[in-house]
Amino acid sequence: MAKTVMIVDDSASMREVVGIALRSAGYAVLEGKDGKDALSKLTGQKVHLIISDVNMPNMDGIEFLKAVKQMGSYKFTPIIMLTTESAEAKKREGQAAGARAWVVKPFKPDQLLGAVQKLCLP
């Protein structure tokens, strides 16, 4: 059974690009256009890992991260922040909110997949 990874990004092209990398490695993909949209799609199904952008409309990545950590079914789901943000202060903010890794765009598919394999829930 393929593991499920949720991608949260307001850029459709970024969701496609991350999706290509994940699907080629055998993962099933669930997409959210922003934090709010992604929360509405977390309806109890098993999600092994979440990859989220930081700067998004409606609900940004840090707010989304905090909201997921408040959800009983998903509070242990590892979250990777995938963003153009590289400021140390922002990273610390993400770490404090419960992110497990911070990946700066653009990413190399093999390296992102390495992080996904390392953190994905069994």
Binding site: D9, S11, A12, S13, M14, E16, V17, G19, I20, A21, R23, S24, V54, N55, T83, T84, E85, S86, A87, K90, K91, G94, Q95, A99, R100, A101, W102, V103, V104, K105, P106, F107, K108, P109, D110, Q111, L112, A115, K118
Partner: protein
Amino acid sequence: MDIVGRAGVQAWSATALGVVAAVAVVAVGGLAWGPLLVAPVLAAAGVLVSLRQRRREALLLQSMADYVAAQEHFGQELAPVWCRHIETSREQMEGAVSALSRQFAGIAAKLDEAVHTASMETSIVDDHETGLAAVFDRSQRELDAVIASQQAAGQSLVAMLHQVQGLDRFIQELHEMAADVAKIAQQTNLLSLNAAIEAARGGELGRGFAVVAQEFRMLSLQSGDTGRRIAAKVDLISKAITDTCKVVGDSVSQEDQSMEVARASIGKVLHDFKGITDALQRASQLLKDESVGIKREVNDALVQLQFQDRVSQIMTQVITSIGRIPPLMQEQAEIYAQSGLLRPLDTESLLTELKKTYVMSDQHKVHQGEVVAKSEETEITFF
């Protein structure tokens, strides 16, 4: 004092100076014709200079008002057009790259499927147990074993032929033995004849001996007959052996020829089969190499496609920064209208605001006019 104030003072100063000069001339020269003529001229000159300065002042004020109005117009009309163009371009680029990414996703999925199928096919060719090469090696070994078995059977047949041919000397011995029997029978017959003669000479006394001689002769005749029959049978056996040896020899010879033909045919089939397996193995290796190359190119393309996201963010920040200009221009116009003062745009605060929106370290470098180096590695921090 501002430029408008200074212009006003200068305008009134010229009139005052003309009047003062006229009064001074009258005061000094008295009420004579000369001073009375010069004084009005001086006063009129002062008024004229004053009027000219006021006209220049009015022109200056008008040009400033026009300038401020033009700037406000610039802010209200041109900046939004720039923003709309940039935003439209950003949206079109986003849409185009998204569509491109979707198409690319389809191509990548098909490529994955093709590469997967190819790897399955190549594993059929390359597998150490069931692969084509392994089947070829096994077939070659088994066919070699069949040929070797056939050769062994042929060699056994040849050995048996040699053994049968070796029976010839026994036939010769049997012939000699038959000849010996015939010779003994002949001598015995001769001996029985002599015995009969001697029995006849013995008369009545030799009668019993004559009977023995007669029986003895009978036995010698039977022995001779047996010897001849033995010789005849030996001839028959000899002929049968010779015929059998010829048949077997011909068979062995045909077997050898068939074996050579079979060996040549098997060799040709194996050679052709080897050619096919080698070609398949080469194709399989090429397919593997190409698969690796395609995967690398897909990964490179995925990196390049992500730059749209960065470009989109930067364009959005630039739009926001340009969008700040119209209200500032309007504010400047309002201040001028209220106070007649011109307040310069605060470029530093605009730059500071723009810098606050930067999320990439590259943007700070670009802001400073530095060259941005392209990063080759993904920046990953694990917590």
